[in-house]
């Protein structure tokens, strides 16, 4: 049954890739069929229990096909189905052939190609095929990101992604080559007894960490997510970066990891969580803000994973399991909320044509659905009850608290992690109050926001679906536990106990009750206001004669207080001319927050390499005499090498 569904999904996606450029309708049908089949298969594995494994005589590249869908990969496969399907529907309304005759067909092709390659990555249990699918996945995401070829910005972002992800891929080259060499086969599977493999986990961490956007390897992420078409951003942020997480989960479960890796992951995760969201708070580009928020959430996930590895290493401590479950659930939650938010951003971009928050405002009147869904997504992603973001962060918190109470040396990892998680949560709240308010509330700041319109049904439906999924996970978190239990069991045999160690059911009940009370209270208050009478009047303007939209608080000034605390790493670039004298000339305030790691760390290194390269190129000066000198020099060096040693 599982196998059939998977086969169906692969076939549908392949067919969708084939017909995508020509037939939009058929493509949508095939993609939805494929996505839902994948989802179904994943649910079968997660709730039916039995992992699915399939070996075939058919060999590809000299290796026999070996596919497996166990609980761990099924967790991700399910998310793939949801996000992939939703994004496809959204694309039909958002990136239509009419508006983008050139890129829309290509977009459909690469969309299915990417879904296909990602699902093969999740399925393949053979190193060679894993690598093939992994690189195809990277290449198809590149073509999706740079879908608007004619825009230099999109091209640059795509290339940065391609470069970064290739660096990661080469680490994986080495990683799988070593594994194959040590195991004598490309076949993958649990290799927990082989302590000598442990040091190579670092290669995997580097390779997958880049794709996951783990701080400080996230350099490609903001620009890629910001410049890509929004449905692509949703897929990238909702699913693609989780493929990196999958790699780490997969191999941290299958092979022995060095003792230091857990600490490193918790540390990187904590830094990523706080700094990522600090960067987000300082952004003015709506999609960049969301992208940095992904860095934060990946940080949270890695805190959980690293903690789980530490727990497993220290006598299978039960709190380790809590952390792992929290991390995995957070993968789901973040994937859903973040793709929802990116789709909302897409509908804003579609309506106004700008991502700059400082040019928007007051959109709630024109696009109430988008506004409401964005607000919901914001509450969820800030980890506030009664929505799903809280549930997973709650699990992570519990794990960390227990780890500290354990009073072991691991407290030194868990204590900072817990505090970092709290800080990141509060900063996320600030960022999303800012984003939602500046974009949707108040008055329109420029005419760009004036002609806005609500998105069509094709774009609204997937947003509603994702919102519904968030709500489902929030109100019935206990329903997710069997899946989590199986996943943790598949990751670590000692953690397979199906009973919930924490009162998820109670939490679900509380969330539901809370939601109902909120509804009731809102209703009651609204009724009371109606009874007393409601009068509309201009905002109280403290005596100003003419309130102006530009008097509103801007996003920059809103986030200023908190982001100043991080100016040591944000290094914001401000150009400011204050009004001076009785008749001041027009004043200027320009703010830009660079991607510090990229511009202060990576770029200088790259510049150095380029200097070296241009120096070397001067040796190809075209004077043949010197070419012969090179030849003679070569012989001399070879002779020395041959005679010495």
């Amino acid at each position: 049954m599982t196998g059939d569904l998977l086969l169906l999904s692969l076939i549908c996606l392949a067919a969708g890739t084939a017909v995508g450029p020509r037939l939009a309708g058929a493509w949508l049908a095939l993609t939805l069929a494929g996505a839902s089949a994948a989802l179904g298969a994943a649910i079968l594995v997660l709730y039916g229990g039995a992992a699915w494994e399939w070996r075939s005589a058919v060999s590809l590249g000299g290796e026999a096909l070996h596919l497996r869908l166990d609980a761990v990969s099924a967790m991700f496969m399910a998310l793939l189905g949801v996000v992939g399907g939703a994004g496809a529907v959204f694309a039909q309304g958002y990136w239509t052939d009419g508006e983008h005759p050139d890129s829309a067909p290509r977009g459909r092709l690469w969309w299915d190609a990417m879904l296909l390659s990602m699902s093969v990555v999740l399925l393949s249990s053979n190193g060679l095929h894993f690598l093939i699918a992994w690189e195809l996945f990277a290449i198809s995401s590149y073509f999706l990101i740079s879908l608007e070829r004619e825009r230099r910005e999109a091209r640059a972002a795509g290339w940065l992604f391609l470069a970064a992800s290739h660096a990661g891929t080469l680490c994986l080259f080495a990683f799988f080559a070593v594994l194959a060499g040590r195991n004598g086969t490309w076949d993958l599977g649990p290799m927990q007894g082989r302590a000598e493999l442990a040091p190579f986990f670092w290669l995997a961490l580097a390779g997958f960490g880049v794709k996951a956007g783990l701080f400080p390897m996230h350099v490609w992420l903001p620009s890629a997510h910001a410049s890509a078409p929004s449905h692509v951003s949703a897929l990238m942020s909702g699913m693609a970066i989780n493929m990196g997480v999958y790699g780490i989960v997969r191999f941290s479960g299958w092979m022995p990891a060095p003792a230091l890796a857990g600490w490193a992951m918790v540390g990187a995760g904590a830094c990523g969580a706080v700094l990522g969201i600090a960067f987000a708070l300082a952004q003015n580009d709506l999609k960049r803000l969301l992208a940095y928020c992904s860095v934060e959430n990946v940080g949270v996930i890695f805190m959980g994973l690293g903690g789980a590895m530490l727990g497993a290493a220290h006598g299978d401590a039960p709190w380790g399991r809590l952390l792992l479950a929290g991390a995995l659930l957070h993968v789901w939650n973040h994937g859903l909320c973040k793709s929802l938010l990116f789709l909302c951003a897409g509908s804003v971009l579609h309506a106004t044509g700008t991502r700059e928050m400082s040019r928007l405002g007051g959109l709630w009147r024109a696009m109430p659905w988008t506004a409401a869904l964005f607000a919901m997504g914001s509450v969820a992603i800030s980890g506030l009850p009664p929505l799903n973001g809280f549930v997973s962060e709650w699990l992570v918190y519990l794990g960390l608290f227990d780890a500290v109470s354990g009073r072991g040396v691991l407290g030194w990892a868990a204590m900072p992690a817990a505090v970092a998680l709290a800080g990141a949560g509060a900063l996320a709240l600030a960022s999303f109050v800012k984003a939602g308010a500046v974009v949707f509330l108040g008055a329109a700041r420029t005419e760009a926001a004036a002609p806005a319109h609500e998105c069509g049904a094709l774009m609204r439906a997937p947003m509603l679906a994702l919102g519904g999924a968030c709500a489902l996970l929030a109100l019935a978190p206990a329903a997710a536990w069997p899946a989590l239990a199986r996943a943790t069991g598949a990751w670590h045999p000692a953690w397979a106990d199906p009973a919930t160690p924490v009162p998820l059911a109670v939490l679900g009940f509380v969330n539901t009750a809370l939601a109902l009370c909120l509804a009731a209270a809102v209703g009651a208050l609204w009724a009371r206001v109606r009874v007393n009478g409601l009068r509309r009047a201009p905002t109280w303007d403290c005596g100003y004669a003419a309130p102006d939209a530009r008097m509103q608080y801007t996003g920059g000034s809103f986030g200023r207080t908190a982001s100043d605390w991080f100016s040591w790493i944000l290094l914001p670039e401000r150009v400011m001319r204050r009004p001076r004298g009785p008749f001041p000339p027009n004043t200027v305030l320009f703010e830009r927050v660079p991607e510090t790691v990229l511009e202060r760390l990576v770029s200088p290194v790259a510049a150095g390499v380029m200097r070296l390269a241009s120096g070397a190129r001067r040796l190809q000066h075209g004077r043949v005499q010197f070419y012969i000198v090179y030849l003679v020099g070569g012989i001399t060096v070879l002779a020395i090498l041959a005679l010495l040693g």
């Binding site: 590809l60 690189e135 740079s146 070829r149 091209r155 290339w159 390269a613 190129r617 090498l641 040693g645």
Partner: protein, 480 residues
Amino acid sequence: MREDLLIILPFAGAILAWFWPTERTRPLLLPAVGLAHTALAFWLLAAPPAVAPGAWLGFDALSRALLPAVSLLFLVCAAYSVPYLRMRTERPNRVFVSLLLAILGLMSTAHQARHLGVLWIATEALTFAAVPLIHFNATARAFEATWKYLLIGGTGIALSLLGSFCLGYASLHGGGTGDLTFAALAAQGASLSGPWVTIAWVLLLAGYGTKMGLAPMHTWKPDVYGEASGVVGAILAGGVTTVAFTALLRVRTVVDAAGGSAMAARTLLAIGLFSMFVAALFLLGTRDFKRMLAYSSVEHMGILVIATALGRIGVWAALFHVWNNSVTKGSLFLSAGNIRRAAGARTADEVSGMFAVTPRSAAIFVAGMFAVTACPPFGPFFSELLVVRAAFAGGNWAAAAIFLGCLFLAFLGMTRLVFAVVDGRPRASAKQGPRQFRETAGLIVPPLVLLALSLWLGLATPSVLRDSWTAAANQVFPGP
């Protein structure tokens, strides 16, 4: 007999082409002979003949493992050159066609040569036969390129002759009869005079390395590949370099037999890594997408040499990589030729947005670029992965690290340049090309076929090829 036909056939064709009456139909001889040659080569691949031990020429395991690749590449290039020469009616094609065929004959000879002297004569004839093809365009730049090719290539050839003499003298000094067949030299083994073998190895490595285009002897390559037409570039990069590589493999068996195995491996590894590094640096900066192909070729020659240094698995991977490199480079050269012809320029500063002008060629170019930078599922990915694996298995951590680092830099350089060429807005000059270029099937199918071959080689390597490589690897590394 059949193996001699491999040599006779092309020469006959060359002579025929020379005396062929009409310009229009002469090019058809190329695919005709190429087809026959390829058929023959694959027949021999399937049913290899016995080789007389003392023979000067013979279709042994090594030529069986490599010659079909060259023949196949030649066939496709021949098919491409028919419409190409149709476009170039302004130039007489007698010399072009007959020399192309002669080159095929010489390549077959060199691949089958089991004698030091014959091998050298064939290689050096090959060197000079390519000259008129290189300045086929008869531009000043072409002549300059030819001049450099001659001077540097000639010096290299001279060095390999000196090396051959040294090897011969080594045998003489060791009491040999002066029989210069590789079999005899290898049989003489340890009694070869050590110092002379070392000197010979250095000279031969430098000499044939010049033909392969290993840094720092690669300086002629960008000029020649940049100026020569796509067909010639493809054959030089995919065929002639293979000849030089075969020569190195044959020599290495002798050196190993003489006990210089460690020394040979050391020098090979060093020069290979250096070539990769130099190529990567140049790829980062170059703006000319035909010279880019030359540097990429330097890089892949480096990969071959490194693999050869890594023992039997390495050699197996190297043979595999020769096939992959030939077909992939071929498709790149041909599609690059199309783009260059349509745009009328060769640097990213003058060319852009070719996806809009020549969509098919551009697509093939991009795909080939991914293929040649070892992105799956194309062939080079598999062979290079094998090389990495062999390096790790041999414990050459540093070598593997440098290898991967150079791959990364090369990838950066090539992607940046290629996407600069194909993406963006097309220049006005390219919109209606200087010489109305049209993507006819004849110009698109051959590179496409080569690309498909690269894909097929990677995903479903035929067992007969695997066996031939295993046999060849065993011939290079006899014993357990």
